[in-house]
């Protein structure tokens, strides 16, 4: 039973990270009208920045968090004009070009991480972040303080983002554009400026996710970006591209499923679940479980 609880907690933390990633991805898709394959790489890059800041400031968590958020916001905002330049119009997603552009950005980020930081070896976050001794230990499973903290922060972040989207003025503007960009324009919502705001918002989310991942995993590596990128895509596709509420459900479900598999079955099979399910959904229900909301 304790294994179960530990893994559910793990799964919820992981799940909330997936939800945040999918939401950031969907926001860019719905409001900025781009497919940003490299969004998770931006997150991993921020993890590295946080790591550097931790090393040079004697493990100042506050500064690291700020640095992570700042770096992903900056990366997003810098790439915004590039995406804008290649988009055909502001009312429809140009899937081909934005996808290729973001793949290019991802290539660059991953390779910079492989060459520029720690000689390409994985980086470890200070034990203080993850927690030095386990809170809970059952057999081979141990629950670290950092994991519980990441769950707490994760839940707050997810609630926060959905509150923002559904109860605030900028959130309404995002949803309006998400539903009908042309209609939004007619009501006087500035598409360009709101699109840029969504770059910034997903940047802030990205920085938060970086911190959460650091707390949950305790390490990072150049390859982590690709792994995570594929998971996020899996969540978005299984839920249905652009489906924010669907992303919430699928993200959490995937996190819990992966954690449970990890807890009870040995090997790296947990990763496979996401891909197998995604493959099945793509092949048999290409619009996703809850429908595409593009």
């Amino acid at each position: 039973m304790q294994v179960f609880i530990a893994q559910v907690i793990n799964g919820l933390s992981l799940g909330s990270i997936y939800v945040l990633l999918a939401t950031g991805f969907n926001l860019l898709l719905l409001v900025a009208m781009i497919i940003h394959f490299a969004y998770p790489q931006v997150v991993v890059f921020s993890m590295y920045i946080a790591w550097v800041v931790l090393r040079y400031t004697g493990n100042s968590i506050v500064l690291a968090v700020l640095a992570a958020i700042l770096s992903s916001v900056l990366l997003n905002v810098i790439s915004a004009p590039l995406f804008q330049k290649i988009m055909k119009n502001r009312e429809e997603v140009d899937i081909n070009t934005t996808m290729v552009m973001s793949l290019g950005i991802g290539m660059i980020i991953t390779d910079i991480l492989s060459h520029g930081f720690n000689k390409g070896l994985p980086i470890a976050f200070p034990p203080k972040l993850v927690g030095e001794t386990p809170i809970l230990r059952v057999g081979l499973i141990s629950l670290m303080g950092g994991q519980v903290a990441s769950l707490a922060v994760g839940v707050i972040a997810v609630s926060g983002i959905f509150l923002l989207l559904y109860k605030t003025r900028p959130g309404r503007a995002f949803r309006a554009i998400a539903e009908d960009p042309n209609g939004a324009r007619l009501v006087g919502i500035p598409l360009l400026r709101t699109g840029l705001e969504s770059y910034a918002l997903s940047g802030i989310l990205g920085g938060l996710i970086a911190v959460l991942l650091a707390m949950l995993l305790g390490y990072s590596s150049p390859g982590l970006g690709e792994q995570v990128a594929h998971k996020v895509l899996a969540v978005s596709i299984i839920a249905g591209l652009g489906n924010l509420a669907g992303g919430l459900v699928v993200g959490l479900a995937l996190g819990i499923m992966e954690a449970l598999v990890q807890g009870y079955i040995s090997g790296s099979w947990s990763n496979a679940i996401a891909f197998v399910v995604m493959l099945l959904v793509i092949l048999f229900r290409p619009r996703g479980l809850f429908g595409i909301k593009l």
């Binding site: 003025r169 309006a176 007619l186």
Partner: protein, 238 residues
């Protein structure tokens, strides 16, 4: 005098989409507190005229001024903030959002007075207050049109442009909508209306323009247009 102040002036406006000339040298004026009707068939250019005035397109030639300031080429959100608004054809409500959210979107540029405006809008449209948490998709056609007009009111506009309000609505509902527009006008709102339904709209308007393939072919008081044989034949079928 406020009564005769020119609110909107369209001067020699030409708008083209690629090679298609949607509007050719259109001239139009709207004075305060009047109801002006744009009559024309499908594709005559009515929507183009309204959307260009709002700032969705930039004209190829000509100038649009609102309250004396040039607004042609200015982006729509600035013009909305200046007091112009558009109730689009097909209602343009956000179907997946609640009635309240739709109304709040209308107040996007006027969020300071949102409480006051919301109360006023609910007074005008009590049925919307009843349904304020309902998703807009579940409203009837007439209710959606009311929501669209209410949403426009939330920005406390000075000039309300309405694109084909009667489209797809049952005649009884159409009467209700026109009654609402007349009442709004009596409260002090200026209305620029585009319609295919010439009779009903001319009945409540002060002046009108006839638009045919991008050109203004006739203009005058509503009474003049109602009695014009050409208009009667083409748009009223009498």
């Amino acid at each position: 005098m406020a009564q005769n102040e020119m609110l909107l002036r369209v001067d020699n406006l030409s708008v083209a989409y690629g090679h298609i000339n949607a509007l050719k040298e259109v001239n139009l004026e709207v004075y305060r507190v009047e109801i002006v009707v744009l009559i024309g068939a499908n594709g005559a250019g009515k929507t183009t005229l309204l959307e260009t005035s709002l700032g969705i397109n930039a004209p190829q030639a000509g100038v649009i001024t609102f309250k004396g300031k040039t607004i042609s080429g200015v982006p729509a959100d600035r013009n909305v903030r200046a007091g112009l608004c558009l109730v689009p054809e097909g209602r343009g409500v956000f179907a997946s959002m609640s009635v309240l959210d739709n109304l709040l979107l209308g107040a996007h540029h006027n969020i300071k007075n949102v409480g006051k405006n919301l109360k006023r809008v609910y007074q005008w449209f009590p049925r919307l207050e009843e349904r304020k948490s309902q998703i807009a998709r579940t409203l009837s056609g007439g209710e959606r049109q009311m929501l669209a007009i209410a949403r426009a009111l939330m920005s406390a506009p000075e000039l309300i442009m309405v694109d084909e309000p009667s489209l797809g609505l049952a005649p009884i509902i159409v009467n209700d909508i026109f009654d609402i527009l007349v009442h709004l006008n009596q409260e002090g709102y200026t209305i620029l209306l585009s319609e295919q339904n010439a009779y009903k709209s001319l009945k409540c308007a002060h002046r009108g323009y006839v638009l045919e393939t991008g050109k203004v072919t006739l203009s005058g008081s509503a009474a003049q247009l109602l009695n014009d044989p050409g208009v009667r034949e083409a748009y009223i079928g009498a």
